[in-house]
């Protein structure tokens, strides 16, 4: 993008005032809560803690809902009437998004726009303003640096915050959308010092690089039939929590829900490639009939197929899937082992 980044300073108090105004205008303000990104009703809820670990889930569901109607139908004796869905295009401001979340919508854009453009996704993402926050801590599951990102990555943010001290943030205007959003609040902004905030970014400890994604890509191409997959398949429960907490997993199902004989709706619901029924044919045949094939699909889709198709890894390195796995499967460890 040709947009030239601008560096500003904003005090914490003014930032909260800004947030108060966003809420007062009736927009949705999301910020990391204890377990998930929560809708902020009162600015006193806002923590803006750069040392917090990623929440259990990302804000993916606000751009790609867990379940959403895509059409309504009405039936009379033998006739059917279809009714379009009005997509809610409300403005959503995400405050303090983790760098491992900020790029998720950009990664998903490829999928939802190749060939057929998904109007539901597009309308929602158009109304998103993402205010990223530098990340100053990590745990054993984090691996953003292995997938080409970092705790200080501005990728995907429209505005980016860097804590300078207790009550001040450097605010970087990254995109045109960010500039448009912040313009009405220019009274809160002072000119910033890029060198000073760069020094903060440089002082941040980053997770060690665990694997070389290019080598992994190559290994996956040569090792579709590797006994390693079987070992992983024996451990995995096929519960698909990994897909549901992932900021970029996007498989879905289409199902009809009848309210009554005469009315119903068609839903687009989250689904997961780890479920056995995901690829099950009506005839009983199943191309991914055992768990090892399904886990192989998960890793290949993220680190090979998506890269081949869209040039990006389908993973942000947030580590949520590993943190939440009931049987402690650690994707970082598995992908690091994708070598001979």
């Amino acid at each position: 993008m040709s947009f030239k980044m601008e560096e500003k300073i904003i005090s914490k108090d003014d930032l909260l005032k800004l947030c108060g105004d966003v809420i007062a205008k009736g927009h949705t303000l999301l910020a990391p809560g204890i377990a998930e990104y929560e809708q902020v009703k009162d600015v006193s809820q806002i923590r803006l803690d750069s040392s917090a670990l990623p929440t259990k889930t990302s804000y993916k569901s606000y751009v790609f809902p867990k379940a959403e109607p895509i059409l309504y139908y009405k039936r009379s004796k033998s006739d059917v009437q279809l009714i379009d869905v009005d997509v809610n295009g409300k403005k959503i401001v995400v405050l303090g998004a983790k760098p491992c979340d900020t790029n998720s919508i950009n990664i998903l854009k490829h999928l939802f726009n190749w060939d057929y453009e998904d109007e539901f996704f597009n309308l929602r993402q158009k109304h998103f303003v993402i205010i990223g926050l530098m990340c100053s801590s990590f745990d054993e599951y984090c691996f953003c640096t292995s997938v080409g990102s970092s705790p200080v990555s501005e990728e995907g943010s429209d505005l980016f915050l860097i804590p300078i001290n207790e009550d001040k943030f450097a605010l970087r205007i990254i995109t045109e959308k960010g500039k448009e959003f912040i313009e009405p609040y220019s009274e809160f902004l002072k000119d910033g010092d890029e060198a000073k905030s760069n020094a903060v970014l440089e002082s941040i400890k980053k997770p060690e690089v665990a694997f070389d994604s290019k080598q992994v890509h190559e290994w996956l191409g040569d090792n579709f039939e590797n006994p390693k997959w079987e070992g992983i398949g024996n451990v995995c429960l096929s519960c698909a929590q990994c897909a549901f907490v992932c900021p970029v997993c996007h498989c879905f199902d289409l199902v009809d829900e009848d309210y009554s004989y005469s009315e119903g709706r068609r839903m687009k619901n989250w689904d997961g490639c780890q479920f056995g029924h995901f690829t099950l044919h009506a005839s009983g045949h199943n191309p991914r009939d055992i768990q090892s094939k399904r886990y192989r699909q998960r890793v290949n889709h993220k680190f090979r197929y998506y890269v081949d198709k869209f040039g990006e890894i389908l993973c942000t390195g947030c580590g949520r899937c590993s943190r939440g796995c009931p049987v402690s499967i650690d994707i970082k460890e598995i992908v690091s082992n994708c070598k001979d």
Binding site: S78, V80, L82, Y116, D253, D258, R266, H281, Q297, K309
Partner: protein, 272 residues
């Protein structure tokens, strides 16, 4: 949004396979709905969801769109309950098609098993409507038993033509006392009839087991993998390359398929 279509006619092909002849409700859609032989669509039984079938009628006969389905799961059971005059939804056409333009001037050998005749039928009729563009046309069709044979009416029409050779076979034990066709599995019947591989393209659709045993026979007869066209039938939902079900490696069957040459299939990860 699916297009709405009215069921104009229902044909019971076999005890478990049914054909719908469909007319779009919107005249504009009926006019503009354009497809090529081999493409598929998503058919809705509202209340129970969508199912993926090929478009079984030929693009050269556009008055009514046809689809044939075997009653297996929830959606096909729901479709089976519908009557003439009822409404279903159609989304499509999706996917690629058989390269009929490239095959002009060649002999064509159609091999189908069971309901695999549905995707092959639209190609056969397309070819018969442009008969002068192709050389010899032969059809080998097999099913488990006489009652499992579908498109009996169409087969009679093909047999009555002098410019098409038709062999119909049923598996041993599936014949009836009056059966006048072949008895034997499709690969064996092909081996016996020994079609020429010279300047010949094969269009092959049927159950995986039939394809598995037919391929070596074709190879022995001198057919090249790149001259054998078939379709893959992975489970699909969206038809738009998004929902994540039908991929084999980085190939989406709904976008890059369903039509592949056997040479292309051999290069894919063996997961279908």
């Amino acid at each position: 949004m699916p297009h709405l279509a009215e069921i104009r006619e229902i044909i019971d092909e076999s005890p478990d396979t049914r054909t719908f002849r469909l007319m779009f409700k919107d005249a504009g859609t009926a006019e503009s709905f354009d497809f090529k032989a081999g493409q598929f669509a998503e058919y809705s039984a509202f209340g129970d969801g969508e199912s993926t079938f090929c478009i079984a009628s030929s693009p050269t006969r556009k008055d009514l769109i046809e689809c044939s389905f075997k009653v297996y799961g929830k959606v096909t059971q729901s479709l089976q309950r519908l009557n003439v005059g009822d409404t279903i939804g159609i989304r499509g056409p999706y996917g690629n098609w058989f390269p009929l333009d490239e095959l002009k001037g060649k002999n064509l050998l159609f091999i189908a098993g069971g309901i695999g005749l549905a995707p092959v039928r639209c190609v056969i009729e397309n070819v018969l409507d442009k008969r002068e563009d192709y050389k010899n046309v032969s059809i080998v069709y097999g099913a488990r038993s006489v009652s499992d044979l579908i498109y009996k009416q169409e087969i009679r029409e093909w047999k009555s033509r002098t410019d098409v050779s038709v062999i119909v076979t049923v598996d041993p034990g599936g014949e009836t006392p009056g059966w006048d066709g072949e008895v034997g599995f499709v690969p064996a019947v092909i081996e016996k009839s020994a079609p020429t591989s010279e300047n010949t393209a094969v269009i092959l659709c049927g159950p995986p087991v039939m394809i598995k045993f037919t391929m070596p026979v074709l190879t022995n007869l001198g057919f090249k993998d790149e001259d054998v066209y078939t379709t893959l039938e992975n489970r699909m939902k969206c038809g738009l390359g998004k929902c994540g079900r039908c991929n084999i490696g980085n190939v989406y069957v709904c976008k890059d398929g369903p039509v592949f040459t056997y040479a292309q299939i051999k290069k894919l990860p063996q997961e279908f």
